[in-house]
Each structure stands twice: as structure tokens, then as C-alpha cells.
Symmetry: C2
Subunit: 369 residues, 2 copies
């Protein structure tokens, strides 16, 4: 596989931590919300093993916030998501698919309720801010919408709890999953959530005071040697094994939330008003024609750079493979694919052509673990 350079410019925004991770050995970037997101520090597989054993510090400033505040903010936030937020609590995070008028996905953010009239939408890779602005203007909502200067540091891995306790004290270990609160580092308060884009446990510091955030970033490495702390980033292998879906990779604005397995976040029976509700009711009653499924691929390794059609032996389209990696845990290549009916069940077989080779594909259930 040939490597291609990323051509940097202001348009691919740097983060407050970029100069630090470049000294620490970042080797590859992806772009996420028009911003640099580290994608590798050398070997992805080495980083995967480290993430599952110790603790990593991630520059995930590219996980941008859309702040919505004002009198109609709760109405607007609810309008955008099919998840019922009517009983949502301040200090909690809510994984909430954002849906357009045709019932398709716009994003799958985590929404933080900061106050009854103030929310952060912590977005995946699409410009939710313009969707919110368009809706607010069209509906004449009394809201303020902007992208605050928040640059998240994620602390991920089983030893993240010990590392965070050493910095913030015992109290931080009492934070419940998807809860957030304010904790002090050298006199500066930071919003910290027990969250993050891995299944290895951890926290995200929503840094607003950038100077203090940079100091905190360095501090983790200064005091973290006993936990074998290393720089890292969202890990392709770990996230596929864990079944963490990626907007843009595994699904996008051409897919609906039923096809992506988001049933439990779709509140069709409540009285809440959200976009695409009638469309989703119809999709539910008609039944879906395709679904995101796991696949096992008969090969030793794979480098998937785009989606690839999965065919059956008679030349019928089975679906398309959207993400894949070699899994050290399962000792085989696994992937995530949008599979068409009637192939949406475990053990269905197909094949793909990649880099001149034909490989057998077996459909399986998600999540893998």
C-alpha cells in the first residue's frame, strides 16, 4: 500500500495539541469536522494492544461541539433527534441519532445537557451546526447556535481510572458512565464526562480553558509513567471489535436508523415532535430492506480504503463492505457491511474483490463481542 501525504492548510484545522502529538510521533491523520484527527502513532495493532492494557491520551479536539442555548433550545434539540429527551437530566450524556425530514441519518452525536436551556451536541463528522441553524431560522426559534472553542482530551484504557484519580482525586472515579461534572485542575474547572470512543473505559475532558488544557495534557504524561501512559487515538481495530459505528464510514445520510440497529434510540410511541417521525413509522411498519451486519472475511489482513461490493456466486449484490480490519482478539479479519435482504442473516456467504484477490465473506451478527 502506497502512502499519500496530507496537504495541510488552515481549512484542515490544527488543534491546540497538534504540535505536541507531532513531537510524540503521530504518523497519520484523518480529517474529522474539518480538523486534524490523529489516526496512527506507528502500528495500529501495537496501539490496540496498549489501549486494551494500559491508558492513552487522545487529541480528539475534532469532536466539535454545537452549542444551542435559549428559550427554544430544548424544542430544537428534540426536533433534531428521534431519541426521547423529555426526561433528560442536567449532567448526563445522551447518544442521540439526528434525523432529517426523510428519516435518514444526519449524524450520531452524544448530546450533553448543560442546563434546561443549554446543550452541547458533541458531533460526528458532518456540519450539524448548519442543520441546526437552518431549522432554527425556518421555525423562528429563539435560540443561539455556535461552535464553542472546546478541545477535547480523551483518556482511554483500563488504567484511565487510576490516572484520573491521581490528577483529580477519588471523586472522579464515582462519576457514572455517560455522566459529567466539573473537576478542578490547578484551580481551573473542567467539564469531564465518563465517555469516549472506545470500550476500554475512560473519560473525556471538554477543555474550554485552552492554556489549562495544554498544561493538563502535559501533566498526564509527567505523572502517568507508572500506568505506562502513551499518546493514542481512536483505534480502528478496537472500535470495529467493539462494534462502535462511525458516521461516514459505516452509515451516512443515505441510511435510516433502523437499518443501522439504532432501534432503542427511536421513540415513535411518545408525544415528542421530531423530524422524520412519520417516515420512521412507515419504515418500521413496512420493514427494512437492508441492515448493518458483521462479516468475517477469509484472509490474513486487509486494508480497506473505500466501500466494496459483496456479491454472491450468482452475481447478485449481497451488500457493501464499509469497514474492516484484522482482529487480534478473534484471530480473523472482521468488518461491518450494509447487507441487503434476503442475505441479512448470520452464515450467509458472499465474496469481495480487493487488490486483485477474491475473498470469501461470511455474514454474522453485530456486535461481534
Amino acid at each position: 500500500m502506497k502512502n499519500y501525504s496530507i496537504f495541510k492548510s488552515r481549512r484542515l484545522r490544527s488543534t491546540p495539541y497538534t504540535s505536541r502529538i507531532e513531537k510524540q510521533g503521530v504518523t497519520a491523520y484523518t480529517i474529522y469536522n474539518h480538523m486534524l484527527l490523529p489516526a496512527a502513532f506507528g502500528s495500529i495493532e501495537d496501539s490496540y494492544h496498549h489501549l486494551k492494557k494500559d491508558v492513552q491520551i487522545w487529541d480528539v479536539a475534532a469532536e466539535r461541539q454545537v452549542e444551542i442555548s435559549g428559550k427554544d433550545s430544548a424544542k430544537l434539540v428534540q426536533l433534531m433527534t428521534c431519541r426521547d429527551l423529555s426526561k433528560s437530566k442536567i449532567g448526563r450524556c445522551y447518544y442521540s441519532p439526528i434525523i432529517d425530514d426523510s428519516g435518514n441519518l444526519v449524524n450520531d452525536p452524544v448530546i450533553l445537557k448543560l442546563a434546561e436551556d443549554r446543550w452541547w451536541i458533541s458531533i460526528a463528522d458532518s456540519d450539524v451546526i448548519f442543520f441546526a441553524k437552518g431549522l432554527a431560522t425556518g421555525n423562528k426559534f429563539d435560540v443561539k447556535i455556535f461552535e464553542p472553542n472546546v478541545a477535547i482530551i480523551a483518556i482511554q484504557g483500563p488504567k484511565s481510572f487510576s490516572l484520573m484519580e491521581k490528577v483529580f482525586g477519588r471523586v472522579i472515579t464515582e462519576l457514572k458512565f455517560f455522566g459529567f461534572d466539573y473537576f478542578t485542575f490547578k484551580g481551573v474547572k473542567h467539564l469531564i464526562a465518563r465517555s469516549g470512543w472506545s470500550k476500554q473505559g475512560g473519560f473525556e475532558v471538554f477543555v474550554e480553558n485552552i492554556e489549562s488544557g495544554l498544561d493538563l495534557y502535559d501533566h498526564f504524561f509527567e505523572i502517568g509513567k507508572e500506568f505506562n501512559v502513551k499518546p493514542g487515538c481512536p483505534n480502528l481495530i478496537e472500535r470495529i471489535e467493539s462494534g462502535l459505528l462511525s458516521y461516514g464510514s459505516d452509515f451516512d445520510n443515505n441510511d435510516n436508523p433502523f437499518e443501522c440497529g439504532f432501534e432503542k434510540y427511536i421513540s415513535l410511541d411518545s408525544n415528542i415532535i421530531f423530524l422524520g417521525k412519520e417516515k420512521l413509522k412507515k419504515i418500521k411498519s413496512d420493514g427494512i430492506k437492508r441492515k448493518l451486519m458483521g462479516v468475517e472475511i477469509k484472509t490474513d489482513n486487509i486494508n480497506l480504503t473505500r466501500s466494496i461490493n459483496i456479491m454472491d456466486n450468482d452475481g447478485n449484490l449481497v451488500g457493501d463492505l464499509r469497514s474492516a480490519c484484522y482482529s487480534p482478539h478473534f484471530k480473523k479479519v472482521i468488518g461491518i457491511a450494509m447487507i441487503k435482504e434476503p442475505f441479512c442473516k448470520a452464515s450467509e456467504m458472499g465474496k469481495i474483490e480487493i487488490e486483485g484477490k477474491t475473498l470469501a465473506v461470511k455474514v454474522c451478527d453485530l456486535p461481534f463481542i
Copy 2:
């Protein structure tokens, strides 16, 4: 300067031409509208000289279209832009800043009027589709909005006219600047505009029939030897010398169109209804506090990867440098910067710190040429 790899995935979409340009020697990518956009084929300066002398074929599929059709389509398109489109004609392209409710820029697309009730918004790098969907839903407009499968090939450079004539016949040379029409290649009709993101002359083929587009892409190289045709891409040096602005690099959603020198596209006196109109009236009467200006930088070369503050000798912020390159034409380093009052005039001096060096900066007018 260390190079960093781009970590490819389905989320950074490949184009129909990606496998071709990779065989032809692309060395660097940027990401534009969640898609791979070639940024270099080896030396940018060599490519610049070739572009100004001969003809290049560009994979600019990342210049995505947002199609808006239906009864209220003209109303929605006009609502989004401050340019008066009430007298717009079918078969013409219109450079049209898109403005939000606060009077700031969302994008600076070229809008193609395909029919009275069908438009393509040929977008710069932001998700205009979600802005349009939000507005349409909120206003209950009767429109259909989607991203059609269009993968543009640009033909740029002074010999583009001869190359295009050889393929499409004499008739294509009669197309006026920013006009478009349909032309036939081997029995397949293609929408072709006399447009493109350089000032060296050229065309853009809005490829809808991908199979024919791939054939056309190859055909240009087969028959173009006499014009010294080469693969290329939007060129940093040529676009800065020519004063072609880049959304995300030179301006973004924090800037208004007056600050960016778009006065002639702002129709405040007409009766048309567009977002931010009252805000723009107020900005005009209050006067702007900063403006995009050219700068000359005292050095032999520059590699600008992010914006950098320009300071004066007393430690005051003069502005921020957003794009820069060495210009072979002017034989000096030039750039584009947002300059604050009272420094917004030619010959004002400042300085930047970059890669450990302090460089003198002189403000100048735009465009450079």
C-alpha cells in the same frame, strides 16, 4: 517539514478517478466535502508552471452538487444567498455567497440554474445540504434536496480550449464564461461549463454517466499529447496569485461577506428575501472592522499549515495570515490575511513568527494581479 500520511477510509470518500490519479503519480491529498481531493503531483511549483503554459486534467469530484428541485426551489435558493438571482437564466453559473441568519458566510458556491425549478449548488467545503434541508423543513417548502452522483473533471490551462475542441468540436469554444450547455462524447451527453478554480481558462465536465466520464478522462490523455496534457489539481500558488479565495482557508462561518470583499454579490437594495439581509444592512451602515487583504512576507519560501497571528512592533494584533506561498510571478512570498482596523491599508507593516523565525509582513491590496 515532516510529512504525515492520510489514513483512508470510506468516510474520506474516493472518487471515480482515484485509482487513475494514483497510477498517474498523485502524492498528496486534501479532504474536501468528505472526499479525496488531489493536492499535489510532486512539485507544486512545477505543476504551477505547467498549468500556466499547457493544459491539465483535474479530478475535482470533491466539488459536490446539492440539487434543489420542486415548486419552491427558486425561493429556497434565493433565501440562501445574498446575490440577486431573480433575473438568473437557465444555462448560466452564478458565484453566490451563502449567508446565515447572523450575516456570516456558510459557503461560496457557484450555482447552476438547470431549469426554473431545478438548481445545482456546486459547493465549497461545508455541508450546505444540511443547511438547505433545515431551511426547507422549517419553512415547509415544497422541494426535493439531495446530493446527485456528479463527479466533475476540470480541464484547465490555456491549451484547454484546443483540447476541448479536439474532443467536442468547434461549438464548445463558443461557450461563454460561466455559461454551460450539453455536449456529446461518444453518444453520451455531458453538462459542461466554462468554469474552474484557476484563472488560466478552462472547463468543467459535470459527469453524471460515470462510465462515460471515465472513458472521457482517459481519452483526454490519449489525444492530448500534442498539448502536453498532464494530470493536475487546484494549485495553491496559482490560486493565491489569482486571488481565488478558499472557504475554510481564507474565510469561514466567523466572517461576513463585506469582510471578504464580496460587495458586488450583495444585493441589499432589491426586494428579494434572503437570510441575514437586515444584519448585512447594519454591517454596511456600521462599517466593517477588518478585511481580507493581501500581504507580502520577507522570506524566500513558506509552508503555512494553519493560521498565524500578525503582530505589530508594539505587540498589537494586526490580523491573521490564512494562506501563503512563494510566487514565481512576483518573485516573493505572498499571502492572504484577515487584517484588523486600523491596519487595513496597503503598506502597513507587521511581523509573524513561523518555524522559529520572525518575518516582516507588508499589507497590500487584493487581488495581487
